[in-house]
């Protein structure tokens, strides 16, 4: 086993297969990537009223994101009773002033403090103030996207998002009055590493191969060959950009009005915010690592606030046409890009992969960005540059 994370990626962009299969690396990722850096947890449209909450995950850890019933502020806390460890909140979302653990009845205010201990005469010196739900020390929001960090100190969310911010601005302005995540989510699982989903999110090289059956559907729908592949391969305004800090984008021409003609949703670009937040089609995609070889993905269609029901239902139908467990595209990614990759990676005799596509033609852009062609592996390298930086700092124990 290679124990130095920096040695898992060579200067000519050979990447070692163990990044997807090693339990030790997965545990190191939980410390280096999911414990310290900013992590997306929720969108403000899910938490509009005081008392609103949702449950999700920060890395592998279950958390509650709430808007305080009293203070109206955003809070992110571990979903774990301080007494004996049961989750205190079961619902995916709702509104509550208190969370009561069903095991022994300990009760917490919805912003964390322990408020009730049942039959507490048996605890002569219980330090209640120290036994609130464990908070993530930093919570911040950018244009409605809420992030949290397990590290009490570190760079600000805005510094972390860096060059990704203008794209998040555009996403947040998609509807007349912004966006909302009120339609629920598609949830899918696969037996493979979480990074396979993230790096497949902007991989324009695969589209014509994995999604050939969808391209045939589009050709039938449009009465001619759909334009998306020609644009990916030959349109010079289609660019992949390493935005720094692990973030990347695929622009379809103008970043406000672009449309790739793929009938996948109306976002004018695809965006990856390191490590596990993606925007593609018309969806916010949250990739949840469960184990080195198990991942859950939640796809939240982003509806347009201020638009008609008919318009928003159209967003949902377009999304369902390609994505989700019954979609005509997404499941082909699960089959080929995740599960067949997992099967193939069991052949470890020569365990190196090639991630160098278009490396020679990456051009420096503004603010430290690197720009490449649409079907180049710029987003993958952007991701793994940051991965390697964080993992090298942490090391493998």
């Amino acid at each position: 086993m290679i124990t130095d994370p920096a040695a898992l990626i060579t200067d000519d962009w050979r990447v070692h297969g163990s990044i997807y299969t090693s339990r030790e690396l997965f545990e190191a990722e939980q410390r280096a990537i999911f414990h310290g850096p900013w992590l997306y947890v929720a969108h403000e449209s899910e938490l509009r009223e005081p008392g609103d909450y949702k449950t999700t995950y920060a890395g592998t850890q279950p958390v509650i994101v709430s808007r305080g019933a009293d203070d109206g502020e955003l809070h992110v806390m571990l979903n774990r009773c301080r007494h004996r460890g049961a989750t205190v909140c079961q619902a995916e979302r709702g509104n509550a002033h208190f969370f009561r653990c069903p095991y022994h009845g300990w009760t917490y205010r919805n912003d964390g403090p322990l408020r009730g201990v049942t039959y507490d005469d048996a605890y002569p010196d219980l330090d209640r103030d120290a036994l609130g739900l464990t908070k993530l020390p930093r919570v911040a929001s950018y244009r409605g996207f809420i992030f949290a960090s397990f590290a009490p100190e570190g760079e600000s969310l805005e510094d972390y998002l860096g060059n990704a911010k203008p794209y998040l601005d555009i996403i947040s302005e998609q509807g007349p009055d912004g966006i909302r995540l009120s339609a629920g989510s598609h949830r899918l699982t696969y037996g493979g590493n979480w990074k396979l989903q993230v790096e497949n999110t902007i991989d324009n090289y695969h589209f014509g191969f994995v999604h050939r059956s969808f391209l045939e559907v589009l050709a039938d729908r449009m009465g001619e060959a759909p334009p998306i592949m020609q644009r990916i391969l030959f349109d010079e305004t289609y660019r992949t950009i390493d935005l720094g800090n692990g973030h990347s984008v695929h622009e379809f021409g103008d970043k406000r009005t672009g449309n790739n003609g793929g009938q996948l949703g109306d976002l004018p670009f695809n965006l990856i915010v390191f490590p596990n937040l993606c925007f593609v089609g018309a969806q916010l995609r949250h990739v949840l690592p469960k184990a080195v070889d198990r991942t859950e993905v939640r796809l939240y269609p982003m509806l347009h606030d201020g638009a008609s029901d008919e318009h928003n239902a159209g967003i949902l139908r377009t999304h369902e046409g390609f994505y989700g467990p019954a979609g005509m595209g997404g499941p082909d990614d699960v089959e080929v890009a995740f599960e067949r990759v997992v099967d193939g990676l069991a052949a470890t005799e020569d365990d190196w992969l090639v991630m160098s596509r278009g490396m020679h033609r990456e051009q420096p852009g503004e603010n430290g960005t690197l720009i490449g062609h649409s079907a180049d592996e710029v987003p993958q390298r952007a991701f793994y540059r940051q991965w390697r930086r964080l993992m090298a700092k942490e090391g493998v124990r």
Partner: protein, 161 residues
């Protein structure tokens, strides 16, 4: 309480069995022909799901249903390569409502699906709105499959239910 007409119930049940037989045999173009031009094929996600406001597993009009069949026949639908083998077990068939031009049939279905060394089961309440076909028999104007597991994380539901 309406009077049960066992002959009519047996007639619509026979139609459901024939539909299931076409699905299990993957005779999908023939299956598609069972649907009317204005048909809806719907697999909701979650209970009380509202297709205007909530994401669904799928909600197809006849055009998109045809696209699904076309995709599965293309030879490039990798999530169905190899294809799922399915067995539809149908029970509790009853006529839920008789309207002027249609009959609404309720059933339960247990769909066993086998693919790539894995077996999955999908159990659901199924609704069919059937209209008389010109040549006799029935056509499907609306099919709704309410799966018990529609809102748990799912893998690959790209075969047709």
């Amino acid at each position: 309480m309406s009077v049960v007409d066992p002959v009519r119930t047996a007639d619509v049940a026979e139609f459901l069995y024939r539909e299931a037989e076409l699905l299990d045999a993957r005779r999908l173009e023939e299956w598609l022909e069972l649907f009317t031009p204005d048909a809806t094929y719907w697999i909701p996600q979650g209970d009380d799901s509202d297709p205007v406001h909530d994401v669904q597993l799928l909600l197809d009009d006849r055009r998109r249903l045809r696209e699904r069949v076309l995709r599965l026949a293309s030879g490039f639908a990798y999530s169905q390569d190899p294809p799922s083998r399915t067995v539809h077990l149908i029970g509790n068939v009853r006529i839920a409502r008789e309207a002027d031009d249609a009959v609404e049939v309720a059933s339960v279905q247990l769909i066993t699906e086998v693919r790539r060394d894995r077996q999955a089961q999908y159990a659901g309440h199924v609704e069919h709105e059937l209209v008389p076909a010109e040549e006799g028999g029935w056509r499907i104007r609306r099919k709704v499959v309410r799966l018990a597991n529609s809102d748990v994380p799912l893998g690959n539901v790209t075969f047709l239910l």
